[in-house]
Subunit: 313 residues, 2 copies
């Protein structure tokens, strides 16, 4: 496959003693996800710090801002914001336009973790080696911080400064609200809650992951694509891809903890080897769809999909 001419930085000069075709596949370096990611992460972290109750600019009263910032500026992997940025790039969009939805989707993710950690839910006291928000600030303040983060997500998507056109603002709000709500993340959490100790079928388990984790990952890609020009085509393709990728991404995750809580997992249902094979099958399917699409620079998205499925944790 010939590389599109817009990607010259991914070709390398052949060693002087070689005379082979420089466009041959073996001379194309794999996309440097690490470099791309570092640049995106710097922008995302800076934006989050500026937009989440910055004490110097938009302070929140009575310690609420401290709890909100603690929950967000916590060294997370920023997987969802990276998906937004990658999808924006694939859809030919401006990276600056994608920063708001990138941060907004991370705020939804962060609030869900704060609420999930509460004693009435998973009752977790540590997250990434630090006390969880309710241990640090008390349950009531953690609850409020989560609530305020969800509202802030929609505030980020609707700036008054004219930097984002109104149809895009409305579409981004719609995508995020649907993904976060009862037919998305919150619905998946309700299934999760009801499933403790119960035998779920493979179909029910699939549905739970599709909603609990998949909906927000999918929204990340759709929101990124909504910032681009190639939205029309990108939407359906990306929709198909992420529906399976998101599912695969959750296959190996927190299986140990889920098992301890008697929550059903793909591994407990299918066994480890079959689960891994299923994940690779879904990934191959996703990458094939992406390859045949007519999107722009798909390499960040390809690399992230790979990382999602093959990450070790």
């Amino acid at each position: 496959m010939a590389l599109p001419s817009s990607l010259p930085h991914h070709r390398v000069t052949a060693p002087a003693h070689e005379t082979t075709d420089l466009n041959a596949p073996e001379f194309i370096l794999p996309f440097a996800l690490g470099v791309w990611r570092a640049g995106q992460l710097a922008a995302i972290e800076q934006a989050l710090s500026r937009w989440v109750a910055d004490p110097a600019a938009t302070p929140a009263p009575a310690g609420l801002g401290d709890a909100m910032r603690y929950a967000v500026l916590d060294g997370g992997k920023r997987l969802r914001p990276l998906l937004v940025m990658a999808a924006c790039e694939a859809a030919g969009g401006d990276a600056r336009a994608a920063l708001r939805p990138a941060c907004a989707v991370e705020l939804i993710h962060a609030y869900s973790l704060v609420h999930d950690d509460l004693p009435c839910m998973d009752n977790d006291v540590l997250r990434r080696g630090k006390p969880t928000a309710h241990v640090k600030f008390g349950e009531a303040q953690a609850l409020l911080a989560g609530d305020a983060l969800q509202a802030l997500a929609f505030e980020l998507l609707t700036p008054e400064d004219g930097s984002v056109d109104a149809p895009t603002q409305a579409r981004l709000c719609r995508l995020l609200a649907q993904a976060a709500g009862f037919q998305g993340m919150a619905g998946g959490q309700a299934i999760d809650l009801a499933s403790v100790g119960l035998p779920l079928t493979s179909g029910e388990l699939h549905e739970m992951h599709r909603l609990k984790t998949g909906a927000l990952l999918q929204a990340s890609v759709l929101m990124g694509a909504a910032c681009g020009a190639a939205v029309g085509l990108a939407f359906q393709v990306v929709d198909d891809i992420l529906d399976v990728t998101a599912d695969a991404a959750t296959l190996g995750k927190t299986a140990g903890k889920d098992a301890a809580q008697e929550k059903p997992t793909f591994v407990s249902l299918m066994g480890l080897t079959a689960s891994r094979n299923y994940a690779q099958h879904l990934l191959a399917q996703a990458l094939a769809s992406l390859q045949t699409s007519e999107l722009g620079n798909i390499e960040p998205l390809q690399a992230l999909a790979n990382m999602l499925v093959n990450r070790q944790q």
Copy 2:
């Protein structure tokens, strides 16, 4: 003051033996808030029942929909939706366009009550004579239902069917997100949380009520106005009015309970008579501003402002 010709239904026929001017003030019936309200409430209740996880159309998984509907379809007074409808009418808007924001703001109010009632907050077991959501469905499900209701509010504001134009959708999301978030309702709740047993100044108390209750009441009016044609002028006038009205509305409210929880109130700070006088002063100021505005049918809004300040509970 002569009545505008668009309001003929507020005049009455004089008794046959009278010959006085039918336009004289003593022949103009007071605006029938009860009739107007009954009509609006019927539409609001029907819309809420249709839009909140209707089991026949958009069911929510694993009992989540039951908890959401329990929290919303509970015989509430619908004060905020009524303000949206009244402001829409004052701004010359179409009542049908205001139904979505009317319901959205009620969902934010309903979710805040569910979370407020949780054991880590006010630990209330009864609301309107019925068990609170967490007593009925468990804490985890109540927490999720609240979260899902907040997301649903923004989903209601962003329909895909073209019934609301994109700039209005974006503006409504912005107004609601700001009012619900850390610089609005959630911020006010954080001040409330921090104030238990502490002496607040009158200024601090004012700030708490302005955020905790006032922000959402104010947003109700601004969102209604955003559905109308006379938005430009309406915005500033209504903004000024509601800032004081909202404040007054909270003066007499739940004073007994707040006192029991050692929360400062206007009554505990100023005494009952001075508080009542202050409320009437604010109301008179609000009504005077409304009177001199160039809005359309201001009577529902006037009547609601009156009701807000003078309600007995």
